[in-house]
Every structure is written in structure tokens, then in C-alpha cells.
Symmetry: D2
Subunit: 162 residues, 4 copies
């Protein structure tokens, strides 16, 4: 399994100087430490950005990395605002690609980061090739996933691709 | 989905008076709050005990509850010491029963509780009927699960059921 | 002792819908729970605001409350940006008034909130009447306190009041 | 200021292999990081033990270190069970010596560790030479301090030294 880091709320830090959330280091190593995994995945940092700031060059890099890696199980840590859009571009017949992030930064109390990481790892292990989003305890096929921005939750949209 | 609570390290609290870990309330509601689930499972408290203290009456109650519930997706929160033993008794042809717990109490920093909860929920959603243990990022069929007490990790034992 | 709540970073919450920090409830009751105080102080919420948003009406209310309370030991929970300015207006001959806040919200890991609360309570108990700021482990007379915005730390300014 | 580490609940870690609390590394560096102190104190590890396990040799070493250090402001991180007894032996005319610990380990949620650290630092800065205990928001002269083991709180005993 390989983890590609693309930023998102999960990896934001509060900066007391600017009094805003910023990206500095990733939390993935603390997350792996807490997870106590039997087998450690490979970690590759692509970019740490709010998903609203992801450029075409960034998304092309992610697509290329998903294609080129020898791994067939891929986790993508990503911001939730454009998660469905970017995941849709990673369509793949031979690999299981699971996107996840969190609604609260990893280091805020009550964060959903570790729970979502657990659901993502397990979905990646158990699902057939395809592109999925694991948020709110669901494993959604990217073709039927939608974020409701008013409630900050993901759900399934039956009629989305007709 | 229904969650049966049977105690274990995940639900222990540090008591400053006795200076030991004890059971008082469960942490499951905080865990559900953090998980931000699309759909809330039913929660039933059976007993909060260290798995070494589980009696035959307790285990019979768990087996009976797994059989009687109308739900076909069941999570069992349980201590890790006797998890494989008790899970083995819950064998079932028609329901997906997933046992999990944690190596560190939920309210100790760096706990694996939320991650394990995530893997358990996802395995319960995705696996066919059977009895499973989700620890250390793995989903182990109970027939091939083993806890290595020296490292406090679960792994797969190929030859266990010969 | 009485605690007046005026907001500041210490009481901010991350809101996953707006993806910004907002004020909703105060964290003071969790803070009091953790502090395990021998004697509980009275808590009065005046307003929960970023100190940059405090109006003249707000500051007048704080000054009036400090004057009118029967307590002679007062803690003011306040944002750090305008802490020195507002504290300067609370000058008082007969009461010990201690302002504190934090650089990181209470519910972000590594927050200085509980430490600062500890220094504030102790300074309030031990100091003679006057107005003080307790940040970064210091107890600064308001007349010699300054926040260095580049490092987000408070220090003593010797020559400030000449 | 110098900090002497003598263990106690504050520095205990949960060990998933033995399923008990043990001493491994100290948490003092994380505590100092969170405190965001203007000036860092010197840290000296004497021993990390439950106070019930402190030997005469250990206590002699602590007394000797308090006497020999050039610092006049000393914090002692110590278990609460025998805190009053050991602090009583450190009587000193020229230095301010403050003992503190916590009822919950530093890395358990809701721990009083950081709050107590704050009260201890401030008492050490503000109090005249003497030996003090700062717990539950109080600064107690060692001669009038008592731990109530039934409630796990410290309080003042008026008549203790008659």
C-alpha cells in the first residue's frame, strides 16, 4: 500500500503568529504511530494544500503517481472541498484508490482524522479495483459521492451519473 | 448495525483515588461523536470488564445477544486478551460480527481506539457473514487470528485450524 | 474569585462547515474540570469575541463588572491581540485583576491554555492589588507588558511608561 | 530556575504489553513545549519512580541536589502519595522550592498536569524562600499541606504543626 499526501484540513496546523490554519509538516507519521499497523505503507508527499488551491499541475501529478506506482492499493489524503472532483480524475481499472481527509484537523480534539484513516485503510484492503471516498463511515464509489457543504458530510447520490 | 459493549482496555479510565485503571462509563458516545457517522448504530451495553474477568454467564449473554438481534451487522467492543477465544464462540452463518478493542485506552493520547473503530465499522460494512477481528489495520477471520502478547499485536496464523 | 469571559483564541472552535475558527460555547467548564480546584470560582460570561472585534461598549462593560463585583480576585479570559490595551483600562487600587488567554485554542493539541490558566490562578492568589498579564510563564504588570506579534510571545518592556 | 524530576503519576505511561502504567521517558519536554515559556528552566532527571518506591538514597539525593544547585528557584516534579513527607525534608532558608505532580498522568485526557505546572511555575516565581506544594490551585506551605487520599485532593491543615 502507498499513501499519497495532498494536504486538506486533516494536515492543517494552527499558527499563533498569523492566527490562521497553515500547512507546515504532515501529521501522517503521528497517525501511523497511533494506528499500530501490522505492516507500514509507503508514504509519498505530493503537496500540502487546501483543495481549493490545487492547480492543474498538482492534479496531473497525482494522476501520474497513481498510474506509475507499482502498488495496487493506494490511499490519497486530500481536502474534502474538491475531493469528489479530483478523485473522479483518477479512474483506474487495476488499482484500488481510496480518498479520505477529515472535517477537523488531526490535532484538534474530537477530530475525525483517525477514524477516517481506519475506514480508508480497511476499504483499501477489502474493495476491488476502483476509486472510492471514505468519509462519515461510508465507502462511496466516486461516481455516487457528494459532499453536502451545509452539513459538512458526504453521502451517496443515486442519480448522479445518469 | 448494532454495537455490543463488553469492556476491555478501550473503555478503561484512570482513577486518581485508587491510582489504577477502572471501568466507569463507556467512551462509545464520544467515539461516535468523533466518527461523524452518516448513520448512527444502536448501542447496547452488556458488561464493562477486563476480558480476563469475563465469566461464562457473560459470554453466554454475548452469544445470545448476537443471535437474537435483528441486525445483521454487529460490532463487539471487547478486551484483547481473550478476544480470539470469545469471538470463536460467536460463530454465525448469517451475520457479520466484528470484534475490536484497543491496546491503549480511548482517553490516553496516541490511543489506537478511533483508528480501530474505523477499521471495524468498515469491515462490518464490507465483509460477508462471518466472525472477524479488526486490530492493527487487519481484518482477520477469527479462525486465523492470534494476539502476540509479547508485542501486543494481532496477526494471522496460517496453520491454526489444522 | 470571579472569572470574566471575554473570548480570545483560547475559546475558539474549528467549524467544519465554514472551515474557520468561530466562537460557540466557552471551554471554561472543561478547563475547571481539568484543574481540579479546591475551591471553584464564579464564572460570568461577558462576550466571546476576537479581541480585535471588542467594541467600546464591550470594554466599558468589562470595566464596570470589575468595579462592581464584590470579589477582590478577578481573572479575565481575553484575546491576546488587544490584551494590554484593554487591561490598561481596568486599573484598580483594591482588586487583583489578572488577564490571560492562549496562543493556541484550548482544544488544539499542544495548547498553552491550561498552563496559562494555572499561572493566572496562582498570580491572582499571590499578587497584591493591581492589573497583571500572565502569559508565557510570566506575571507582568500591565504597565510593562507587551506582545511581540512576530513571535506571539509576551515580554516585559522596561522603558514603556517613562 | 531548575526542575528536578522524581517521577510520580504525572510521568507515567500506559504500557500495552504489561497493561499497566510504567515509567519510560519523562513528559517534561512536551510540557515545556506547551508552556511556551519566555525563559527555559534547566531540567535534571534524578529518578522516575512512584513515590511509594522512593528509597532513602533517592530522597538524600534530592535533598543534596536542592542544596547544591546555584539556582534559588526550584521545581520538584514528584508523586503525590509521599509528596508532603519528602518536601518536609527539603527545608531551606534561602531557596524557593515548589513540589508538584498530578492526579492524572500527563498524557491522559483531562489531566491536571499542565494546570499544576502553571501554578507551580508562578508560585516559584512569586513566593519567598520556603518549601511549598502547589496542587488543586493552592500554594500550600509544606508545614500545613495534607493529601486527602479518599478524594485525591490536597488541602490546608491548620493545626498540623502544633
Amino acid at each position: 500500500m502507498e499513501i499519497f499526501l495532498c494536504g486538506g484540513t486533516i494536515d492543517k496546523h494552527y499558527d499563533p503568529v498569523s492566527e490562521t490554519f497553515v500547512f507546515s509538516d504532515t501529521h501522517i507519521y503521528e497517525m501511523l504511530h497511533q494506528a499500530r499497523l501490522a505492516k507500514h505503507p509507503k508514504v509519498t508527499k505530493l503537496f500540502l494544500k487546501d483543495s481549493l488551491d490545487i492547480s492543474d499541475t498538482d492534479s496531473s501529478e497525482l494522476i501520474r503517481c497513481c498510474r506509475q506506482t507499482m502498488e495496487t492499493k493506494i490511499l490519497v489524503v486530500h481536502g474534502t472541498s474538491r475531493m469528489v472532483e479530483l478523485a473522479s480524475k483518477c479512474w483506474n481499472q487495476t488499482k484500488t484508490i481510496v480518498f479520505f481527509g477529515s472535517m477537523l484537523p488531526f490535532n484538534v480534539s474530537d477530530s475525525d482524522a483517525m477514524f477516517n484513516f481506519g475506514t480508508a485503510i480497511m476499504a483499501c484492503n477489502l474493495k476491488a479495483p476502483g476509486v472510492y471516498i471514505t468519509m462519515n463511515g461510508l465507502c462511496l464509489d466516486v461516481k455516487e459521492a457528494k459532499k453536502d457543504v451545509k452539513t459538512a458530510t458526504f453521502h451517496k447520490v443515486e442519480s448522479k451519473c445518469k
